[in-house]
């Protein structure tokens, strides 16, 4: 944990509001981007982040200061963004978000290619990724954001999703197997 972050948390636990201000300026950009990727709406993302800082402020007493602040706080941001984003009903609802989200994203990307060579060589644009993300539910987007934007490992995701690590491993493995099938099938 960075020195200024540890100091900010110590201040906040003592009721010194300067601590919150420090954390806001340290994490607001990352938090806004996570919330935006999940909700797809910059105004809504800002409201989510404000609410997340409010919750962090109210519940800082529960936070173990020996742990890094970012995962704990970004989990709050993600949960709020999912809840707020779920009011938008355009997404496709699926039962298993971890499996289906990743599978859908990859499969959609694969299906856009023409030949096996082009599948490998094709440069996927940010717009294409964004358009595909829009077809996922906020919960599914959160899985993608955790894995590919926040660079969370499988074990970290398991911990955050309160799922056994083996289950996460199996789901990711199954998703990748399915992708391979899709790749071969399209070739």
């Amino acid at each position: 944990m960075k020195n200024y972050e540890a100091e900010a948390i110590r201040q906040l636990k003592k009721g010194d509001i300067l601590g919150l201000k420090t954390l806001v300026y340290g994490y607001q950009t990352k938090a806004l981007r996570v919330a935006y990727l999940i909700t797809g709406n910059s105004d809504l993302a800002e409201e989510c982040v404000q609410e997340a800082f409010i919750q962090a402020y109210q519940h800082i007493g529960r936070f173990d200061a020996r742990r890094p602040f970012a995962p704990w706080f970004l989990r709050i941001v993600s949960n709020i963004a999912i809840r707020r984003g779920q009011q938008d009903q355009r997404y496709v609802s699926l039962d298993d978000p971890l499996y289906e989200a990743e599978a859908m994203l990859f499969a959609s990307l694969m299906n856009q290619t023409v030949t096996p060579d082009e599948q490998v060589a094709k440069k996927i644009t940010a717009e294409e990724i964004w358009n595909l993300l829009q077809k996922l539910s906020p919960h599914q987007r959160e899985v993608i954001v955790s894995r590919y934007y926040l660079d969370m490992s499988e074990s970290e995701m398991a911990k955050e999703l309160k799922t056994a690590p083996g289950t996460v491993k199996w789901r990711l493995y199954a998703a990748r197997q399915r992708l391979r099938t899709l790749l071969v099938g399209s070739g």
């Binding site: 200024y4 300067l18 607001q28 800082f53 409010i54 990859f106 644009t125 940010a126």
Partner: protein, 351 residues
């Protein structure tokens, strides 16, 4: 390879839509990071009549029954020790004024006023579960004077703190700085106006307007004007105001920038207040503070309020913090701080 492209794509999308310049702090501080706007410090005038009214008002308030507010509001009171004490002592006033606009019910449930703050508590119940949030809210007195908002607590539907609230119901407790009220009126005639906007669409509701009258509770005030110098910095304790809902102090000093290579945007004092009586000590710690005004004065708010304590009062400034807002080498915004330790101690009496 594809994983890398997705990572880069997400990064590009996020950076394109959310620039580094986005700053949630100004809006956030009006909600939860209480920020007390710099105010011209008023002269307090003590009169016998004022104290007689004060005693009468307090007596009347103490016998008022505790009003059971909506669950969404009770959880918010529990987060603010001053308001929690006020409400549990029956010092607030049930208003129960309701308006329904475009299917959204807004109920002004409760209000309270003293020499530190005016607090209003209300709930919002949309007909179809859609969430609404207030904006452009103002509180004015009968002369049209607008009170600056200092703190807002929000209990949105589904949040952890919204214990037992109806689906879709949100609770709000907003506080306003009342330090500009210098004539100690018996009653305050107030006008609260707000608009609401949907959390998911551009739909707005309002403005809605409430008129109400509530008693004003005077505070216990000291104006020590004491100056203490340590480490080359002179700090002045200008005023302390103790009310049932809050304990505040105005502290003034000029930042010691000349002694350092860097110049800081602002300097803030970190302080606490003790009251000592027969060897027993109670302490209120710093909760919120305003940015310094042009005279280097900050209004500091402490918790708990210690309203029912008597004895020798002592305010201790333990640190001065110089602040610069900037960016790290990787472009992440952060606050650079310079902290100076040293005790500046002030003793004073509160009537």
């Amino acid at each position: 390879m594809m994983e890398q492209q997705i990572k880069e794509g997400l990064q590009e999308i996020a950076e394109r839509h959310i620039g580094d310049e986005r700053d949630v702090w100004p809006a956030l501080q009006t909600k939860v990071a209480p920020k007390i706007p710099s105010q011209p410090r008023s002269r307090w005038r003590k009169t016998r009549r004022g104290w007689a009214l004060s005693a009468l008002a307090i007596l009347l308030l103490v016998v008022t029954a505790v009003y059971a507010v909506a669950p969404a509001l009770q959880s918010l009171f529990d987060m603010d020790s001053g308001l929690k004490d006020v409400h549990s002592s029956g010092l607030g006033y049930a208003l129960n004024q309701s308006q329904v606009v475009n299917g959204v019910a807004i109920t002004l449930e409760w209000a309270y006023a003293d020499e530190n703050r005016i607090a209003v508590a209300y709930t919002v119940n949309p007909a179809r579960g859609e969430q609404y949030e207030p904006f452009a809210f103002t509180l004015t007195d009968e002369a049209g004077h607008q009170f600056p908002s200092t703190m807002g607590l929000v209990s949105a539907d589904g949040s952890e703190v919204n214990g037992g609230a109806s689906p879709g119901e949100s609770g709000y407790v907003f506080s306003f700085d009342s330090s500009s009220i210098t004539h100690r009126p018996e009653m305050l005639d107030l006008h609260l106006e707000m608009s609401l906007k949907s959390a998911t669409t551009a739909k707005t509701v309002g403005p809605v307007s409430f008129r109400f009258e509530i008693p004003f509770t005077p505070g216990r005030i000291a104006a020590p004007q004491q100056r203490v110098t340590a480490d080359g910095v002179t700090i002045t304790l200008e005023k302390v105001t103790l009310t049932p809902s809050a304990l505040t102090a105005v502290i003034c000093f000029t930042g010691p920038d000349d002694a350092y290579e860097d110049t800081y945007e602002m300097w803030l004092p970190i302080s606490h207040i003790d009251v000592i009586n027969d060897g027993e000590q109670a302490r209120a710690t710093l909760g919120t503070q305003s940015d310094p005004d042009e005279d280097g004065c900050t209004t500091n708010r402490y918790f708990p309020s210690l309203y029912h304590h008597d004895g020798v009062w002592r305010l201790t400034v333990t640190e001065l913090v110089g602040i610069n807002r900037g960016y790290t080498e990787t472009g992440e915004p952060h606050i650079e701080q310079k902290r100076i330790s040293g005790n500046w101690t002030f003793e004073f009496a509160l009537p």
